[in-house]
Amino acid sequence: MFRGISSLWAGMRITGKYFFSPRAIVTQQYPENRATLKMEERFKGEVTMPHDENNQHACTGCGICEMNCPNGSIEILTDRIPNAEGKMERVIDKHIYHLSMCTFCELCIKTCPSNALAWGQKFEHAVFDRSKLTKVLNQPGSKIRKEAK
């Protein structure tokens, strides 16, 4: 019986120590700290397509990300428009990303030959309608960035 009391006392001492030392609290006050909350740089929130200040992106519409995606979360609709020399050139019309199907395996970002995709840090994905999770990654009116080689 004495062994029982002493073992209970040993456990109570630990819990008591944390009860009286508020410095040891490590919990994040999540909804209240949203303004200061910063996710890690590599955090896998969602797939995004970075655009520069001229509304240009780097996606050539090659379809490698679509091919590598294990669960079909990426669909690319391409279009053909004439370029400056009058030749027909393939460009993306819509880069459709189904967030609801994505498993965050990073294969699309890893295999993209022109580094057009990147991780976004947004993580609050709860919506009322599933169709809102289907996103078009290229912004309206955006063009492919022509880089000097």
Binding site: A10, G11, E40, N68, P70, T103, F104, C105
Partner: protein, 375 residues
């Protein structure tokens, strides 16, 4: 024996009382249904019913390329996601005869041990909670959070980090990686004695754990119970010692063996393994060699036709991967020998004759992860 059981269940001739534990029982940590036959309060036998979250991962592998398979193996035993990834990667590297850089081997071993620590911490808090010690749940998760933060910084995800790829790693680790691990080691070395004071020495816990759910060494070998559950019965089955992979041949560590065979012995094996993992981390963290984080691989991996087999030690036991390739870019057949599947079916043997309350202690001490059983 089994025909008798089936007859009893169907006809219900005798006065046994059959209840279902699960599929939504909180102590099974997943959707597992145990059909328990009771005589009074004593368990006569139990039949596990599995398959509630069968996703057909082995079949899905046949339609995916080898790079895509990696992210499926995360979802088997999600608490040892990194070890599952590594098993598949090692099979592919063996078949392609690719030598991965030393740096990759060291980082993979460090991540294995971090993942094992995180898994054992979660087991410790959930096991305490199953037996009525709610405090352990918060204390265990508090310390696990530090490991998950290290994972989040380097891989971007906390639980299902598809960080391995055949030939190496997805990225190099974050520059803070080593410092944060050292910080964690010194932090956790101080916290580990608290675990013992809180739960191990507690007299109520000891009364419920000692002498309950005895598993002999013969039973463990007969049922193929591996990992800490098998080592609690004195069955030496640590793949890290038997067939070293990664950087395990370069570090000093002991295989933890207990001969008690009861719930408390399995508990002690896991507690001692946490200390061993810390010492492995200490030996490796300062000695990561410089170099590439991936070997040169072709973008489309086609394994030469043949059969390949590799096994690793996850946090729960031996995971073996068996691949049959016909030379295409996806496997012809992929088979996982998962540790939890074998560990579950020993329950009928060791729980017979126990009280129904002890069943919770037994299933907790086996540390079952249900998606790994169903896969």
């Amino acid at each position: 024996m089994s025909e008798e059981i089936i007859k009893d269940v169907i006809v219900g001739e005798n006065e046994d009382y059959i209840i279902n534990m699960g599929p939504q029982h909180p102590s099974t940590h997943g959707v597992l249904r145990l059909e328990v036959c009771l005589k009074g309060e004593t368990v006569k036998y139990l039949i596990p019913h599995i398959g509630y979250i069968h996703r057909g991962i082995e079949k899905m592998c046949e339609a995916n390329t080898y790079q895509q398979i990696i992210h499926l193996t995360d979802r088997m035993d999600y608490l040892s996601a990194h070890m599952n990834n590594e098993a598949v990667c090692m099979v592919v590297e063996d078949a392609m005869q690719v030598e991965v850089p030393e740096r990759v081997k060291y980082i993979r071993t460090i991540l294995n041990e971090l993942n094992r620590l995180a898994s054992h911490q979660l087991w410790w808090c959930a096991f305490g909670m199953d037996l009525g010690a709610l405090t352990t749940f918060f204390y265990g998760l508090r310390d696990r959070e530090m490991i998950l933060d290290i994972f989040e910084e380097s891989f971007g995800s906390r639980l299902l980090h598809s960080f391995n790829t055949p030939g190496g790693l997805m990225h190099d680790v974050h520059p803070n990686f080593q410092n944060r691990i050292k910080e964690f080691i010194s932090y956790f070395r101080k916290k580990l004695p608290e675990y013992d004071q809180l739960l191990t020495g507690n007299v109520i816990f000891q009364e419920r754990a000692k002498g309950v759910g005895f598993m002999s060494k013969e039973t463990a070998i007969g049922y193929g119970v591996t990992g800490p559950s098998g080592r609690g019965s004195g069955f030496s089955c640590d793949i890290r010692k038997i067939a070293p992979y990664g950087a395990y041949d370069k570090v000093q560590f002991n295989e933890i063996l207990e001969t008690g065979g009861d719930v408390f012995a399995r508990y002690q094996v896991r507690m001692a393994e946490m200390r061993e993992s810390l010492s492995i981390l200490e030996q490796l963290v300062d000695n990561i060699p410089e170099g590439d984080f991936t070997a040169k691989m072709k973008p489309i991996i086609k394994l030469p036709a043949g059969e390949y087999f590799r096994r690793v030690e996850t946090a729960r036991g031996e995971l073996a991967v068996y691949v049959v390739s016909d030379g295409n870019k996806s496997p012809y057949r992929m088979k996982f020998r998962t540790p939890n599947f074998s560990n579950l079916f020993v329950m009928n043997e060791i729980a017979a004759g126990c009280k129904i309350a002890d069943l919770i202690a037994i299933s907790g001490s086996l540390d079952l992860v249900i998606p790994d059983i169903d896969r």
